[in-house]
Structure formats: C-alpha cells, structure tokens
Symmetry: C2
Subunit: 472 residues, 2 copies
C-alpha cells in the first residue's frame, strides 16, 4: 500500500526531485540540437552506400565494423572510447534461388530462402504443394497429408502501428518450416511475413530444433502468395519446382562495436543504447538496422560534441549478428557476465526509422519519475506515455534480451511501425526509405533518454512486490 | 468561316440530331450494366492467374491466345465471331541476369535486361562506369569518354497524370543504349523508366538502328540507380560487373485475336477497340495490358449479352506482340490493307486500369457532336472533355498506330496514369494492383463509346482545311 502512495506522489510531482534542473536544461539543449543535426542521416547514407548489405559473419559485416570504427573516429571519438569485441559464429550464406509453378499454370515465382534454410542441391526439387491458409491448419494436419510434399503456409499478417502482429503471424516463418519438417514435408513455401503487395520476398531466420534436420524453406512475395492461393482455389494438384542452395560456410568472425562516454561519478554504472550493425543480404539494411545504429550514434555524438560528461557511463553497442539469432547479444552477455548488474538501464533501436510515438518503461517507481520528466521534454516531439512498470512485459530491443533476462531495467522508445513490414528483410530496405526529419526525432528522443538516465542516481531496478518475490 | 459556325451550333445542341434518343438510352443502359458487372475483373484475374507472363512469340503468349478463345466462347461468343490471325516474328527471350558493383563498394545490383538487349555471354563483362545524369549529357559526350566502357544513364522520370513524361524521359531506354553503342560503349545501364522507389527494375524494348549491333543493355531499379549516383558523387572510378544472356530464339508464331459483333446496316464499317494480349515476362501483365484486353472484352460482352446489334461492326482486337515493337499491329495493317479505310473510329486501352478522366477526340465536326453526347452520358462517371479535333495530335493506343497513320479517326479514352509507371514493365505488374471499381468504370466508358460510334452514320473522318490539303 505504501509503495502505491509513493508512486502516486512521485507521478504528481513529475521529475522534480529526481532530475536536477541543470540536467533537464541540458537534455532540452540536446533535444533541440538533435532536431537540427543530420549526423544520423549521413551515417545511414554512408553505411548503406559504402558497405551496403552486411550479412552476419561475412566479409561484408567485417567491412561494416571497419566502417563503424572509421566513422566514429571521423566524428571525433577517441581510440580509447571504441572497442571491437569479436566473437565466432556458424555462418549461413545464400546461394542460387528460384522457383516456378510447374502445373497447372506454368510461371515463375519470386522467392528467397529463409535464413538457415536447407538446400535443395543445385538440381532442385519438385513436388505437389499442400496449401495451408493458417499455421494452425498445418499444425492440425496429419503427417500423411504432407509427407514427401511441399507445404505452403499463408497466415497473412495485417499492419499494426506497434508491430504487435509480428509475433503472432511471424510464427509462420519462425516455426512453420520446422513443424512441416517434423511431419515429413520435403520443402516449405511461406507467404512473406510482410504487409505490402509487391514482388519482393521477405527473408528472415527460421529455427530448427536440434532433432529436426533443416529442409529447404523459402518465402514467396505477397503477390506470389496470392497467386498460389488463387490457383489452389481453382482445385486440382499444384506442382512447384524450387532450387535453393544456401549453405553453412563454417565458423567465421563477427563482432560488436562498443563505444563508451565514461561516467564522471559512477563510471561503473552503464546506460546502454544501440542498434545492430549486421543486416540481411537482400537490401542494404537502412531501416533494419542502419537507422538504429545511426540514431544511437547520432545521440551519443551530440553529447561528445557538446563536451558533456555524464554522471554514469553511456554505452553505445553496434551489435553484430543480430538477424541470425542474437549472436552478438549472447557474446556480449558472456564477455560482460561479471558486470551485467552494472547495466542500469537500456534501450535498443531496432524497429525502423519512423517517429517514436510513445515510451514504455519497466522501471522502479523513482525511475518512473525520470520517465515523467522525459515525457515533459518530449511532448513537443509527439511522444506520449506508454505502458509503465511491471505491466510492461515487452522487451527493449532484441539485442538486450540476455541483459533483460538478467534483470536490466528497460525502456522501449516505441517507433511507429505501420510501414516497417513493407521493407523489413526485403531487397527494398534501402536508404531512400528514410525520412530525415523522422530520423532526427529519434535522435532527439534518444539524447534526452540517455542524458536523463545517465545523470541521476536513481536506481531503475523495479522493486519486486513481496508476493512476487516469494512465489518464485 | 462557315465550318466554325456549324461547329459551334452543333456543340451547343449536344448530340441531338446525330445520336438518336434510342441509341442514347441503350448506351445509358450499357453504362449502368457495366458498373455492376465484374466480367472484366474476372477476365484479368483468369488471364494473369491461368496464363501469367506472356512474352511475345513464346509458348506463354500462345497459351494466352488459346485462353482468350476459350474465355470468349465461355462468355457466349460464337465461333464465327472469333478469328485468330497468326503472324511470324523474330522472338527475343531473357536469359540469366545479374550485376554487381565491384568497386569501390562491392554489392549486388537489382537489374533486368531491356528487350532486344545484346548478351554479355555467360561469363559476363566488367567495366568502368561513366555516369550521365541525363540523356543529353551522353549525347554531348565525346566518343573517347565512353569507348570500351559501361555507360549509366539517369534521366529520372517524374509522375504525370497523363503519362506525358514517358515520351521524353523514356528516351533513355528507347534510344539511350544505341547512342552509347554508336560511341563505342560496351554496355549500358539505365535508371529504370519508372516513378517508384522499389527494388523492382523496369524492362521494355530498346531499339537498335540497322547499323548498330546490339550491346548488353540493362535497367537497374530506382534505388539501385540512386546508389550508383551516390557512389559516383563520392568520386573515383566505379566498376560494375554484369551478366545478361538474352537471345533471339529465331522466328516463331504470334497472333492477334479478333472478335466481331457484326453491323446490321453497315457491316463493312468497323469501330475498333482492344488491348494487347502479350505482356512483359517479369510480371503477369495485369495493368499492361490484361486490363485493356478485359475492358474491351467486358464492353463487347455486355452488348452481346444484351443481344444488341449495332448499325456498324464493332471489332475487338486482342493484339499480339505489342511490347516488342507493335508486331501484331503491323501484321493486322498488312492483312487488312484493303479495308483500312473501312475502320471508321478506334481507341485502344493500354494505359493501365485506373479511371478514365477525360476524352480526347481527333474527329470531324459532326463526330464531335457524338463526343458531346458521350460526355453527357459519362459525366456522372467523372469523365471530362479533353482536346478536340486537329488540336489533338496524340495517338489512340500503340496498336492503332498503323491505322492512325492511314487516316483512322481516333479517340483517346485517357486513363489516370499517375501510378502506371509504378508497375509498368516490372515484376510488380500483378492482379492485386487492379481496383475492380475503376476497371468497371473503364468498361462503362468503352461501352458508351462503342455503342454511340457504331450506331450513327456520322463520318468521323476530319475534313481537311483547304490550305492543309493544298500544302501537302
């Protein structure tokens, strides 16, 4: 009961008491400088132009790390502030990919292999397609209905502003192929997990449990999915040929690029932001996630440029190998395991380049007072409160998952994602899709976020309610 | 002077006097029936689904002719009303196609060969790229600047409602490659002639004068064009590799499908409508030109279904091999040369599936009175007057060009083309892009057009002014 009263009292007084006036004024100056600064926009331009696609574990991703270090130095960061933390990973690369309807109406399909797809071998495979409109229909189907056949999974995803449909409809990609493989299917075609109607397929990783051998698994573009469903509606057998020859090239190096602005009083306490440096290989990784890398770097650079020294350490991580299974996040958690509890607050930007429209925060009651001050400073930028406290059960960006599991208090600076799945994991994820004004708004929000979080002594760690403590 | 007075008088009285009331009432009934009829929409669905891509001269195009004959019979047309008029043509087919930036920033490009492009051979070619932002810049460049190099042509096209930018900016494709070839370039890359920003390249035919040997000529998608231009802006040599292996397969058969509703009183006088049955091979030819074929067939079918017999013959032509150089149009003009002057009026639908927003008419003054009546009936559908008489110097659709050259009076039932070049000649030209209500509006306009034109004795042929007669 007491804690509730405290919460209400703090909420009513805003950030006063936990955020010194001078800190707020600096955050305001950072916010305004961010809106007039094109550093982030130029960073995405350079990364997507001078590196382009950068699949995890490949030479292109290594080029991206070298690019990042050079770009940070060019901005003015010091050698001692920048660390590349390498790690090893099993690396998957795309091969040839093509598919066609063989019968009843011969015509090519626009397809791409899912990440971690098996190979058909260079001679390809051909088979009758069993069409499932939903993942559930596949799950309910008897094995004999799909054995030695190709499985098509529809499960079309609608647009949502917060991206919440992705978790549910994305399962067609995440687990659909392994479900089909377990039932004995020889190959899988899914409707691209995307919300547009262009001949652009969406790749993305699919997962195989240890007891399931990967089979060829491809995504068809949304209009090709419509075509398959229309042909299925006409009845009779539908035969498709497909050739995909991806392969595991072995163990190669990836890495995280870590940049610190060291704290003045509490340098062991870390506020962590970032984005991931790797991208899928089809596009040039502009919205996923050149934007995230650039937003975080743009915010950090403003602090550097204004020669500000925060109370706590502000850490930017440009994560490696996010797309293929959070390899960089796992490597970071392993390498920094002794200091996980020194990460006092975190948020990753990995949902495109559109405006942040609300802030979710899973933090302590005193931390919530910092959120209130943040919201006061960000209201002119169209940012509203989201879910607060334990009610917020979502993450803080994929690469912070291991840290969140270890108890990291977290923010979600939630971007408008209505158009994110028009581009996500497609060849169309390119620089021209980024609106510089929306990108600058993201930088401004991040600058305010890190500055307030790094210049307070508030413990953001939520106090567990006694019952919750006891139940576990 | 007299003729001007007559023109004004006729314009003031609308169609009264040239269009009998009963004809207007039937046209009105056709219009309303068209708006409630989904025949055209189902035809595009079936053609794009059951045939799909249908490149001129190929087996796919032959399947489209068989599909058309079967579809017409299924609608209720009689065998005697349908004629397939075959012709022979030199047929070009696409091969492998890929390209990449080799230096300074290695990454793949999304490309497609232009129609009639030469081949690089299976081993491809590599070369330094000379970047021209406009076609004019290429034309002014000395041969030594491009000899044995690859030429890039930008010449970006803006959106226009009437498609008028295509003639000017499309020259980058129509003649850009041959201009580069004449100067000794070994290959050409053009910015796709399109108005979107997706990783979807636009194909389309390029022409080679007799004294110019075809060289490899490809289009890059608009974002890839941006990328090339951004890299060029950074200075230093830009090297690209490209492999395209299209080839001429030899002489094969194509054909026009001709459908007549015979005239009651003047069966030798022909009002001609249609669309082209072939498509580019990248998409399924929905807006280019499944829509045109379906609009014309939908209008003709309403007349058949309502058991109406027109005064003049109404002819629908589903043209073959339009895309690769009006082969069907030429074959028709040759086969029907004795009766070219019996074609009393024509219009082809080949500019997508969006609404008709105005009508241009190059017809006689009495014919103009028929236009007025047409406009009166079509105003509720949002159709406005366009350019009239000799002031209208545009065509009536590509396949009518030989007939127009022979003096055919013509209408342009002008569609809204703002989004046409988002899809035109790309993989994205698929059924999902068609709005059934807009398609039905097109059918309604065509039904009114043909009914009025075929049920009058008006000579649409413009009278030449004496001075014009004498000057020639």
């Amino acid at each position: 009961m007491l804690s509730t009263l405290v919460l209400v009292a703090v909420a009513n007084t805003g950030g006063a008491g936990v955020v010194p006036d001078a800190v707020s004024r600096t955050a305001e100056a950072l916010r305004d400088a961010a809106l007039a600064d094109d550093t982030a926009y130029r960073l995405v331009e350079d990364l997507t132009t001078e590196v382009g696609p950068r699949l995890a574990g490949t030479r292109q991703e290594a080029r991206a790390r070298r690019w990042a270090v050079a770009a940070l130095k060019k901005l003015g960061f010091q050698n001692r502030q920048i660390t590349v933390e390498p790690f090893r990973m099993r690396t998957w690369v795309r091969g040839a990919e093509r598919a066609a309807i063989v019968a009843p109406f011969p015509q090519p399909l626009v397809v791409t292999a899912l990440g971690r797809s098996g190979s058909t071998g260079p001679r390809g495979m051909k088979g009758e397609v069993v069409v499932f409109r939903t993942l559930d229909a596949l799950e309910r189907a008897p094995a004999k209905a799909v054995r030695q056949k190709l499985v098509y999974i529809g499960h079309a995803m609608p647009k949502t502003q917060d991206g919440s449909s992705y978790g549910y409809f994305g399962r067609a990609r995440f687990v659909g192929p392994s479900i089909a493989a377990k039932k004995g299917a020889k190959g899988v075609l899914i409707r691209s997990v995307g919300t547009h109607s262009h001949r652009l397929p969406h790749t993305g990783v699919t997962s195989w449990p240890d007891d399931v051998a990967p089979i060829p698994a491809i995504a068809v573009s949304p209009p090709d999915a419509d075509q398959i469903e229309r042909i299925a509606d006409r009845g009779g057998p539908l035969t498709v040929s497909m050739t995909v020859t991806p392969r595991i090239v072995g163990t190669t190096e990836s890495g995280n690029v870590v940049v610190d602005i060291e704290g003045r009083e509490a340098k062991d306490e870390i506020v962590i932001i970032g984005g991931h440096l790797d991208s899928w290989d089809l596009g040039t990784g502009a919205v996923d996630d050149g934007a995230g890398v650039a937003i975080a770097a743009g915010a950090l650079n403003l602090i550097r440029k204004m020669k500000l020294q925060p109370r706590r350490t502000i850490r930017l991580v440009m994560w490696g190998a996010e797309e293929v299974g959070l390899e960089g996040a796992k490597a970071y958690a392993e390498r920094h395991k002794a200091e996980l509890d020194r990460h006092v607050l975190g948020s990753e930007s990995d949902f495109g380049a559109e405006r942040i429209f609300r802030i979710h925060a899973h933090v302590s009651a005193r931390g919530d007072a910092v959120v209130d001050e943040m919201l006061r400073l960000l209201a002119p930028l169209g940012v509203a409160p989201g879910t607060r406290g334990p009610a917020y059960t979502g993450g803080a960006g994929p690469d912070l998952t291991p840290l969140v599991r270890a108890g990291l208090p977290r923010f979600r600076l939630a971007q408008d994602g209505r158009d994110y799945f028009e581009l996500h994991h497609t060849p169309d994820d390119t620089f021209d899709k980024i609106d510089p004004a929306a990108l600058a708004q993201n930088v401004a929000v991040h600058a305010v976020f890190v500055w307030l979080a790094a210049n307070t002594d508030v413990d953001f760690r939520p106090r567990q309610a006694p019952s919750a403590d006891l139940s576990k």
